[in-house]
Each structure stands twice: as structure tokens, then as C-alpha cells.
């Protein structure tokens, strides 16, 4: 059995153990429901940060439309579960597919653009999605969609988060993933090496959007009511900060970034005025002293001091 596959299994076992520990904490009420809710939100934010990282970090396409995809996944999901009584997992998948399809539609035309222009165009797309939703009275328009059944549990979030991380990790480690990395590094050289850059940029966009939609579905079903106001581009900045703080092009970075940013905003909840000021200053200092983020391109296990510990069980694997 190939070493790579053995590692995946070890990973899976470890995650199950972690899940067991957290689930016990929750069911035994050791964790207050406020921190339970925050656990769910951290899980959802990790999915959003990792999927945004696939587009911005791994493929180097600077997208600011993530909240728009999340909104599509959320609204499609709640309409199916609340109005049509569709089963929760089916609604989540439908939401993800709808968001992915929109990612495809938006990806095709805009991916000819570069850097700043792509950022502003995707930001505009995200806002258009939000404004269109705000004008659809069927989903409650700006006043929001009420009566959403509370389907999201910690278990759903944890396993879908795990699925997202595995999907993206395996994708990045495959030839298709390498094509995206090549595009990030040098698009012209990638094209001259036989990489159909448009196809892979749109693929990254579609996958990223689909996972954002999935996270949107989970987000919507943890609150009784959702309004378009929770899907503005300011929300996308939140996920961007998680990715950049964690490190563009590092999955561990996105996990850490999502954890740190969510934790800070939960902890500072009682000083509303200072929360954003501290946030802003942290961002600027981060860009000065650590622009590549906490993990840069590194994954946790490639760090020097950890390499020795893992060297023995890990030679064959690059």
C-alpha cells in the first residue's frame, strides 16, 4: 500500500479521535452553547478560508466574490429545506452545485483579467448577487428569510470541513493541482508547458465557489433567519484576512487563520468599538512584518524542527 495512502488513513484516525473529544465536550455541556456555536462558526470559516485559498492562494487569482457564492449556497439550501421540505444533505449539495455553477459562469469571462481588475470585478459580481437576492421578495428580500430549521450540528460541520480539506489537499497534490500552482507562479510559462490555463483557472474558481456554497448552506441552517446583509464584500474581506494571515498557499495556514480571526472577534465581542481598530492595526502590522502570513507556503509538517520528528516515517513521500 503506497505510503501516501497510509498517511491519509493515519490522518483520518486522528481526526476521528479529535472529533470524539470535542463531541464529548459538547454533549456533556462542558462547552457552553456560546462556544459550541463558535466551534460551528470556526468550522464553517475554515471551509471558506480553505476554498478561498484554493482560488487566491494556490491558483494566484485574486477573487473578492466569495461572499456571493456563500449567499447562493445559503439561499438555495434554505429554500429547499424550508419551502420544499427537502432533506438537509440534498439541500446542501444542491446549494454547493448552484454556487459552483455560478463560479463557473463568473469565472469564464472574468479570468482573462489580472490582479486588481479581477479583484474589483469579482467584488462587483458578489455585490450584484447580494443585490439581486435583496430584490427577490420570494426569499424575503432585504428583511431576510425566516423560519429556517436548525439542521446544522457540530458533526455535520466537522465532517464536511474534513471533506473540504481532504478534497483541496488531494487536488493540490495531483497533476491538476500542480497546473494551478504553475499558473500562480508564471502563467505564460505554464501555458507554454501545455497547461490550458483558462480551463484550470475556471476549475479552481468553480471548486472554490462550490465549497463556499456548501459552507453557506451550513451557515444558513445554524441560524433561524438569514439576511443578504450577512453576505456583503466586507464579509469576503474577513475570509481574505484569514487566508492571508494564515499564509497564501498553505492549508494549515488557512486552518490557523480561520481559528485566530474567529477567536479574536468572539473574544473582543464585549468591546465593540475597539474590535475593528485592533483588527485593522493587526492587519497592517501583519503586512509589514509577515506578508507571507504565519505559514507562508509552508505546511506545518515541513517546518524545520518538525521535520526531524517525522523524518523516519515519511521518507518516500514528497
Amino acid at each position: 500500500m503506497n505510503l501516501l495512502r497510509k498517511n491519509d488513513l493515519k490522518m483520518l484516525v486522528f481526526s476521528l479521535v479529535l472529533f470524539g473529544v470535542l463531541q464529548v465536550l459538547i454533549s456533556e455541556r462542558i462547552l457552553s452553547s456560546f462556544w459550541q456555536l463558535n466551534l460551528v462558526i470556526i468550522g464553517i470559516n475554515i471551509m471558506l478560508a480553505a476554498s478561498l485559498n484554493l482560488i487566491n492562494g494556490y491558483t494566484g487569482q485574486f477573487s473578492l466574490g466569495h461572499a456571493g457564492f456563500m449567499a447562493v449556497g445559503a439561499y438555495v439550501g434554505v429554500v429547499l429545506t424550508t419551502n420544499f421540505g427537502v432533506a438537509f444533505p440534498v439541500a446542501l449539495v444542491a446549494g454547493a452545485i448552484a454556487a459552483g455553477f455560478l463560479g463557473f459562469l463568473i469565472g469564464l469571462p472574468t479570468l482573462r483579467l489580472r490582479g486588481d481588475y479581477l479583484a474589483i470585478a469579482t467584488l462587483g459580481m458578489g455585490e450584484i448577487i447580494r443585490i439581486v437576492i435583496m430584490n427577490i421578495q420570494y426569499v424575503g428580500g432585504a428583511a431576510g428569510f425566516k423560519g429556517i430549521p436548525h439542521h446544522t450540528t457540530f458533526a455535520w460541520v466537522f465532517f464536511l470541513m474534513l471533506f473540504t480539506l481532504f478534497f483541496i489537499k488531494n487536488f493540490v497534490n495531483s497533476a491538476h493541482g500542480r497546473a494551478c500552482l504553475a499558473i500562480r507562479e508564471n502563467e505564460i510559462a505554464a501555458e507554454s508547458m501545455g497547461v490550458n490555463t483558462t480551463r484550470y483557472k475556471v476549475m479552481a474558481f468553480t471548486i472554490g465557489a462550490a465549497f463556499a456554497g456548501l459552507a453557506g448552506g451550513l451557515f444558513a441552517h445554524s441560524f433561524y433567519l438569514i439576511t443578504p446583509a450577512s453576505f456583503t464584500f466586507m464579509q469576503t474581506f474577513n475570509y481574505l484576512i484569514m487566508v492571508v494571515m494564515g499564509g497564501l498557499g498553505s492549508i494549515t495556514g488557512s486552518i490557523a487563520g480561520a481559528f485566530v480571526v474567529t477567536f479574536i472577534s468572539a473574544a473582543l465581542a464585549s468591546w465593540p468599538e475597539f474590535r475593528m481598530i485592533i483588527y485593522a492595526v493587526a492587519l497592517i502590522l501583519l503586512m509589514f512584518y509577515r506578508p507571507q502570513g504565519l505559514f507562508g507556503y509552508m505546511e506545518l509538517t515541513n517546518m524545520g524542527f518538525l521535520r526531524k520528528i517525522f523524518k523516519k516515517g515519511d521518507e518516500g513521500n514528497a
Binding site: F14, L18, F34, I42, H150, F219, S222, Y224, S230, L300
Partner: protein, 387 residues
């Protein structure tokens, strides 16, 4: 460059850090000699001004009780949480107040959407909440059933909408009307619906319905259309920020018809934004008139504490505080379910803006007043008890 080790260690780091910090996070058992009251308000975000004004009113009511020795020796402690003017954050804040701070009752939020989002968490945990400013009917009642733990300290839109529709048809003898609502709030949309229903029932005709969005600056384009319809009255059920601009720009465009509004108009800033003369020939329904003798003590107390006149949000926050204190006294304990029962039995209670009795739908039976803006002053034109 990548291998699957990283995920295992990433999650290990995440798990351990999570467990340790979270265990530290819960605490704050209710110590015996204070009664903890949660205040879940919009402190940041785009409706921060409504949230903070309501909180000022609530604090005034609570300070009054605490200065007078609290309730049989126990002081009331307000624990505030910011819901950032957003529904999911309102749920987050409510959960924190209930599970971490162990409050017995929650006052707020101000805006309807946030109250509805919070009501689910409150009902699950059997913690009563009082919504000071949300006037939309489905805050307390959902498809026919009253929400047991959700109460309100202001009247509801149907009452306000009916009063204004009758006033337009009977007092102003208006035959035609146009309605201009704020598409981003339940409050405005449901008032528009009720007004249209009652105005047409009274024989009137609604010529046009237009909408704008909160935070809009320029209303000239749509107002030019409304001017073309030249109806007898224009009904604009919205908050003072947008209302001020709409009235000013309407008068600038030469629209002279009377403009009618609801309690969202009740703020001194409307006059600053629109200008006194633009406000002539406009009427609005609200909870009280600060000229009314019975309301004088509240207005004086507020001015003494904050140095400026209260607006309608502050008054309603104060009323919510009064209702809460009375209920805790009658319940004789900080137990949420006893307080809930006491709130249901509130009868002929003297509050800042009048007297209140809680009806079966947890909505207060209160009088509504209609004020007219005349040369910078606000004259009470009518005081109507709900029929």
C-alpha cells in the same frame, strides 16, 4: 512539497488550543446578590444609532431602580453584547448572554430581523426577551401561535398603520395616496401593507408604490416619479435618517402634498436634516408626545443624565426597563420562568410614555398619538386608544 502529515498536526494544534481556551471561557456563575439582565443591541454596523439610543433609555430605567435600593436589596446588573446590526451575530450575542453570562432576561435587539433571529435561541433556553422597538407583528406571533418567551414594549404596525390610514382618509379627506417604503426593513414593508389595506377599505386609492434602501442618499429620481402621480398624501413609514432627506428633497422638487409617517420619524434629527419649513404639513404617529404632562418626568430625567432630548428609541428602551423591573418585583426572584409569567400578567402599569397592559399576544395595549410638525414644533393632533 505537500504531504498529509501537515493536516494531522494542524488539527492537533487546533484541537488542543480549542479545548484549553474554551474551558477557560465558561464561568460567571450567577452570584446571589445581583440579578443579571442581558442587553443585546446594535452597537456597531449600519443601525448602531438605533441600538445605542435604546440602550441609553434602558440604562436610565435600571439606574433609577438601583439608586432606589434595587429589588428587595438585589441590584440589577446589565450585561451588554454587540450584535453588529446583523442577524447571525444577534444569535451569537444572545447565546453568549444566556450560556456564558447566565442572564435571567434579555432586552433587545432594536431591529425586527435581529429580534426574530434571537427569539429562537431564547425560546429554546426558556429565557424571556423584551423587544423595545420592533413593531412588526411576527416578532411575537408566528403563524397564529404566540411565542411564549417573546414580549414587546411598543405597539405593533397594524395599530399604527390603521391609525394613519384612518387619519389620512377622515381627517385629511385624502382620496388618493402613494406609498414609499424602505425595502430593507420588515418594519417599513409591513406598515406599507397595512396602510394600503386600511386606506383602500376607507374608500381611498393607492396610485403608486415605490421603494428605497436604507443608507440611500439621493431620492430625487424616485420622488420625481411620485410628483408626477400628484396624490393627495404620501405615506413614508421609515426611520428618521432617510425620512429627513426624503422630506427635504421632496419639498425641493416642489411636492407640497402632506407627507405622513410613523414612529420612525420621532427624532429631533429629522428637523435638523429636513429643515423646519420643509417639515410643515407632515404628520406622524408615535408612542408619546414629549409635551404630554405624564411624560415630563421621563424627559427631564433623560435630559439630566444624557444632556440631550430622548428620541423614540430611548423612550421605548426606558419603557422596556420599567416593564422588566415591575415583572421581576412581582416574580420575586431572578428565575426566568417566573419572570416570564409575571410579564404575561402585566396590567395597567405606569411607564415612561403612558400606561400598559400586556395582551394575550404579548403586545402591550398602549395609546398611539399623532403629531404634526408645525414651524419647528411638534403639536399633538390626536391620541387614540386601540379599539
Amino acid at each position: 512539497m505537500f504531504n498529509s502529515k501537515k493536516l494531522r498536526l494542524g488539527l492537533a494544534l487546533l484541537g488542543t488550543a480549542l479545548i484549553s481556551s474554551v474551558l477557560a471561557g465558561c464561568g460567571g456563575q450567577a452570584d446571589s446578590n445581583t440579578i443579571k439582565v442581558g442587553a443585546n443591541f446594535e452597537m456597531t454596523g449600519n443601525v448602531a444609532n438605533y441600538g445605542s439610543a435604546t440602550l441609553d433609555g434602558l440604562k436610565l430605567a435600571i439606574d433609577e431602580v438601583n439608586d432606589a435600593g434595587g429589588i428587595d436589596g438585589k441590584k440589577i446588573e446589565i450585561v451588554t453584547a454587540d450584535n453588529k446590526s446583523e442577524a447571525s451575530e444577534a444569535v451569537n450575542a444572545a447565546t453568549k448572554l444566556i450560556s456564558d453570562d447566565k442572564v435571567s432576561v434579555i432586552v433587545g435587539p432594536a431591529v425586527t430581523a435581529n429580534v426574530i433571529a434571537e427569539s429562537q435561541v431564547a425560546t429554546d433556553n426558556k429565557i424571556p426577551i423584551i423587544a423595545p422597538d420592533a413593531t412588526s407583528p411576527d416578532v411575537t406571533v408566528e403563524n397564529g401561535q404566540v411565542k411564549p418567551f417573546v414580549f414587546r414594549s411598543c405597539f405593533i404596525d397594524p395599530q399604527q398603520g390603521t391609525v394613519m390610514a384612518k387619519f389620512a382618509a377622515e381627517n385629511l379627506k385624502a382620496k388618493t395616496a402613494v406609498i414609499y417604503v424602505d425595502n430593507s426593513t420588515d418594519y417599513s414593508k409591513s406598515l406599507g401593507k397595512v396602510f394600503k389595506e386600511k386606506f383602500e377599505a376607507a374608500g381611498g386609492k393607492v396610485l403608486a408604490e415605490e421603494a428605497f434602501l436604507a443608507k440611500d442618499q439621493d431620492f430625487k429620481a424616485t420622488l420625481t416619479n411620485l410628483k408626477a402621480a400628484n396624490a393627495d398624501v404620501i405615506f413614508v413609514p421609515a426611520y428618521y435618517e432617510e425620512v429627513g432627506k426624503i422630506v427635504k428633497q421632496a419639498r425641493e422638487l416642489g411636492i407640497t402634498a402632506p407627507i405622513l409617517g410613523t414612529d420612525g420619524w420621532d427624532d429631533p434629527k429629522v428637523a435638523d436634516i429636513a429643515g423646519a419649513d420643509a417639515l410643515n404639513n407632515t404628520y406622524f404617529s408615535t408612542h408619546y408626545s414629549d409635551k404630554d404632562e405624564s411624560v415630563k418626568p421621563f424627559v427631564e430625567a433623560f435630559k439630566a443624565k444624557y444632556g440631550h432630548m430622548p428620541n423614540v428609541f430611548a423612550a421605548l428602551g426606558y419603557d422596556a426597563g420599567k416593564i422588566l423591573v415591575d415583572a421581576i418585583k412581582r416574580a420575586g426572584s431572578a428565575d426566568p420562568e417566573k419572570i416570564q409569567k409575571a410579564l404575561e400578567e402585566t396590567k395597567d402599569l405606569k411607564v415612561g410614555t403612558g400606561t400598559i397592559t400586556m395582551d394575550k399576544d404579548h403586545n402591550p395595549i398602549k395609546q398611539a398619538v399623532i403629531l404634526e410638525n408645525k414651524n419647528g414644533d411638534r403639536v399633538m393632533v390626536a391620541k387614540i386608544m386601540p379599539e
